[in-house]
Symmetry: D2
Subunit: 417 residues, 4 copies
């Protein structure tokens, strides 16, 4: 199974909302700009509502539609299952698909609980022995500026990492009258800002530094406890027949932690920062320099090199659109920036590349599990007077895949005594 003998990669996608549209665009576009060793085919899309899924099929350009995800998993012409549903369904689908010998691309967060994520990781490890691969979709890793940031840190360009500050700021529910959605229902979404967007900045901070968080102290907050139930909106506990329903997740999460390399890091995830639309901010201060990124200016990376002559040292505003930059050469001339969805295209490119090479794509389910453990530690700390809480290291050493072959040893020894 998963042999791709004819070079074809049949894809079955579960879910077709926001993430489904982004993934569809990626499967469609990737082969047009990149040389792929396998030929993805948009075979089938699945959703519960037959009318809606057929409309999505036509709109998004899939070959067939199914109303049960199990039918997708069962199809012979599907080599890879792409899971774009809410977090409470990830474990069941992913495990079934892996056991059926299908590769899996699963949206983040990997699962709503550590237990689910552990089961998924175990399934992925078992499947890997059969050459079946699993990847979790932390797509911001493939924004070129972030990929460059990782390169620079790994090469030791900013020296030993001392501090990280990571923020994910949005404002889409800052209006207290914004309606309820499944993202505000703990049973479906698992958590609020913490799992939805905090997961991204935890992954980015760890990915760019090449380190893991070992302990955290955190605080969760819900500012608006009840919201209007949108017309046609259903499935939230207690909302039936009433005009307002409860928000059961956090609106904002703040925490700080320690990195395995000894540095410290601060995090904030919120959907209440009026005026910040999708501000994913990451700054890393090392012993020899700093890097800084903000997704509101996603084609730019800022680098401060402390070894520059003092008179002309300053944050360099690198427009990450040059042929020398990761992924960018396949697209447009310098200065012709990319957008949000390009990260998904790059994800497909790297995933297909790994599958063709018979290698583990990254981030792996183990990577996703590790992020889940960080979120879990934040929740436990928040429930225990913000007390310092160690991140469960899992049964093995920190499971960081070396996804780009850059040796950690490239980071120079610190100058500190």
């Amino acid at each position: 199974m998963a042999q791709h003998e004819d070079g074809r990669l049949g894809v079955g996608m579960i879910g077709y909302a926001f993430m489904g549209a982004a993934h569809s665009q990626a499967w469609r576009v990737a082969p047009r700009f990149f040389d792929l060793a396998l030929r993805p085919e948009m075979t089938v899309v699945a959703g519960r509502d037959s009318t809606a899924v057929e409309a999505a099929r036509v709109r998004l350009g899939w070959g067939a539609a199914e109303t049960d995800w199990r039918a997708v998993v069962a199809r012979d012409d599907v080599d890879l299952v792409d899971i774009c549903t809410p977090g409470d369904t990830h474990a069941e689908i992913a495990i079934a698909a892996l056991q059926a010998g299908k590769h899996v691309l699963c949206e983040k967060p990997l699962a709503n609980t550590v237990a689910e994520a552990e089961a998924m990781t175990a399934a992925a490890e078992a499947a890997a022995e059969q050459g079946v691969r699993a990847m979790v979709g932390f797509t911001y890793r493939r924004v070129p500026a972030i990929a460059l940031a990782r390169q620079l840190v790994a090469e030791g360009r900013i020296g030993q990492v001392r501090q990280v500050r990571a923020q994910y700021l949005q404002d889409w529910i800052a209006d207290a009258e914004a309606p309820l959605s499944w993202r505000l229902d703990k049973a479906v979404a698992g958590s609020g800002a913490l799992g939805d967007i905090g997961a991204h900045v935890v992954d980015l901070a760890q990915h760019v530094t090449g380190q893991v968080l070992t302990g955290v102290s955190g605080l969760l907050e819900t500012f608006v406890h009840e919201r209007p139930v949108a017309a046609g909106f259903s499935g939230l506990h207690g909302s039936a027949g009433t005009e307002r329903g409860p928000v059961t997740v956090d609106d904002a999460a703040v925490f700080f932690g320690r990195l395995s390399g000894g540095g410290i890091a601060t995090f904030e995830a919120t959907r209440f920062a009026w005026g910040r639309k999708n501000a994913i901010r990451l700054e890393v201060n090392g012993s020899h320099g700093s890097i800084a990124f903000d997704f509101e200016d996603m084609n730019v990376l800022h680098l401060y090199d402390a070894t520059d002559e003092a008179r002309v040292a300053g944050f360099r505003r690198i427009v990450v659109t040059e042929p020398e930059h990761p992924y960018v050469g396949a697209w447009w001339p310098a200065g012709h920036g990319l957008g949000y969805e390009h990260g998904f295209v790059h994800q497909v490119v790297d995933l297909v590349g790994a599958l063709a090479a018979g290698e583990q794509p990254t981030p792996s389910f183990a990577d996703g599990l590790q992020v889940q453990r960080v979120l879990d530690a934040v929740e436990r700390s928040a429930a225990d007077e913000s007390r310092w809480t160690f991140v469960d290291p899992g049964p093995t050493p920190p499971p960081r895949a070396s996804d780009d072959g850059l040796p950690g040893a490239a980071v120079p020894e610190p100058k500190e005594s």
Copy 2:
């Protein structure tokens, strides 16, 4: 012809380099995010080299390949000819296509000379009587922030336009050892920075203000007169057998002019501004406010509203990714920015919409001709001691299509005496 009775729109594209890739992406993606009244089909692509065009066909996803553009024009299954070749070929292809009853989308600049552009415009006007349409590809008009800027100016939000400053700054040949290309050969490209990128900012300034330039004073400059001939590079006059060939176009163009509404405008186009990758900058100062744009931050428009309370007045950094903004609702949530190629998608959307409605798409060939006349006036001024030179108004009043139905009368009367 051009009846679209079955809702199908067969597209034949001539040329497959940078612009060909952008147009292909647009034809492919537009139907996935927008409801189109016609169904574009990527029928055929043409290029002179049979091997190369077949490779492009596969890569870019076209149904067939031809080595002669005439064969594309002759095909019954082609309803629209999309011209992505250098400027010296535009007139011949476009006129033949229009006479054959094919709609035409032609890359900018419309032509290399005013005479060619006039012939093309005449052909377009004749074809229009048969319901055959022609459009020129000033794609930056469809960047959402630019579209918003036009809306705001047309609504009178900044009052009467007094000043415009427009710059298009690049650096891709700032290195004197960068090799020759067709863009540096006057016979092929028509002009250098002036026609290639200056044309864009002339169009944008006129589009956003809803006015035309009536006279100009200009200066053209070539900084590097000879360049290395790249391996395999040919076709430049006098370069055969030598290592270096002449640059026969301008490296930079600077000019100022007057707008039909009485304001003044400054322009600069250069490929020598080290560090500026694709900085298309437009600022408009009106009697009641200002708008400012820079393509290096393409998802943002800045607005200064002079009627705001003085204590809290300031340029507003509008992240143009809200559902209320032009084109944006079809894409991603707020803050998830678009990239360079999305303007091409929007161009296809508007073009197809106009075709389906039997209306003239904009910018028309007449609009392209008018831009060409501005460039011509700049060249004549530069050749005549920078003397003030009137832009040829053409046989009719300024041919500005009212492309969005916004009445010029919406601009309030100036307060000035």
Copy 3:
């Protein structure tokens, strides 16, 4: 005492280093741009080294020099003692001066310990009954953009405060070979980044929101434990006769907390953020908008008003140099920005105004004590596994002077349920 019958205000300044220079400039310049009800005279400056203090006297423009601060306190021609020495000396000098009937302006942090700060506050309250006033120098409150921010929040412009993020980022000891200074010696400085710069952002966050922190969770970190002893450098424990001495304070402090109005806040203070020179950043998100400030662009305040029309909403970049803005009318035309030292001038203006009016200047010693209690809570939390730690509320309700007469009741009721 402190009668100012002749309109004269004799000033005696203790210390003449960085802060001494800034205070001298303020005393000299304030009367030239502002109408002051009292006439400050730069009567005497004090320092231990007679040669150095005489040189400082000439350079900074004081009338006389003393080598013992007690002599300054004892002088009849001194009405106000301006304390610019390290924190370990504040309590003794301030209490003596107040008891001698002299007004006191004391640099921040108020003291190195809560106990000292309490004693100083008690002395200030006793003195106040005699009309003798005490003020602590949180000078950034008087940066015009910060003063405007406070106005806007107090007026309810951004609604109820939900989140604050405050950072003070510097890099002056990011180089591990930067030498020791008194600021790195706990016995002299009290703490490191926490007390030196963290105190500023705690004060600013509380000042701008009009609220106090009620509890915190924190982490302190020292990255470089030993540093070279600079030539001529002395007074650090254990450094005698050795080449390196210990750093006994924190290099970075991170913490989060709750505000008395229910919001949450995050804080970071570090001297290790390469490339950030004096980045004091404050962002406040309310129920109806946001404000943002960065001292690296100190003449600018950013305001997002969520009640603006969605299509044109965006952070407004307010250049705070208009006559309508706090303090600014006394200086230059619009756009002619102010610098670091102007905050000290405004501090003198407000202090002299309060003295002349017989009112309590702000921030009071009680305000300084309250900041000290926050820092103390951070230190206690950091020493106790980052556990949530309540800020000691003191014997009375939160001692926030209403320094500008803006009623907290102006903040509208939250929309939240």
Copy 4:
């Protein structure tokens, strides 16, 4: 005369409005932060209205007041006459002062006409033979970021200069109802935006590049032809007894030109750019890099070094507050920015240094005359259909003083063929 035998430098200032306040601040503050070889004394200030000048004397801190500038020139205790009046009075005062053996600091523009400027320059050259010095106040040269820009260009850091774009954008009369002032009266001010603010960017462009403009093409525009006469406002032709008076100067000036080294430059000066408060923008593109500056962020210089590795090249945002930067070491720690008036302090420092050393301060009157000739060429071009107009080179080669000893030869040969 002008012997300074006792180290004292008596200053007499003519005029006490905006510029008078800035100059007073500079004379007062300079000795407090810089070691000056002479000891400036603020001896006397002059103005026509005896009440107003006495109030200014007290406020600005001068020793005496005079109502006739001739009395200042005649005083034995005045060594230097500082001219802060409108341009129509500069020639008479400066020539008289120089002939009386007084050093002169004269505000810009040097004069309202080339003829006046020539007479002043002749007087300055005659006086120089007696050791009497004259300087014109292009104070923005002494903003540290501009001084650094000049250093970098002179050292060849950006290679041979190819392009300059210089803008001075304000908005203080963008409101058509803003009242008349002497700055809008040609008889007093000489010209409008061109001479008032255009003069500054002409000087800066020439100063930073070390080159002069040799020819220009320009356009002047007046948007608002009549304005309200402010209460108490007088002296404008035709305004007596009426409510509105004519604006007799340009509101905006746009022009481009050629530099003596072969590059091209564009300029714009306007008071109608809503939202731009004092935006002095200068960008220089060389063969190896670029520098960029905007006074709205005056403590920052941007540098693009094209020799940086492509992957990490980007405009460096240099915070010009380090000890290595010009002038800055005398002030505050890194990151504690300076404001508008500091340029005036640095002007005093350099002027006093030159006087003490018996050297010519820069910019000289000859430098000011050369700027005047550029402005004159712009006016002549604007009056002659924007035709190319050569800048009068004067009787001698371009009179650029080598004010910092940096050899032009340090600029590397261009790579161009």
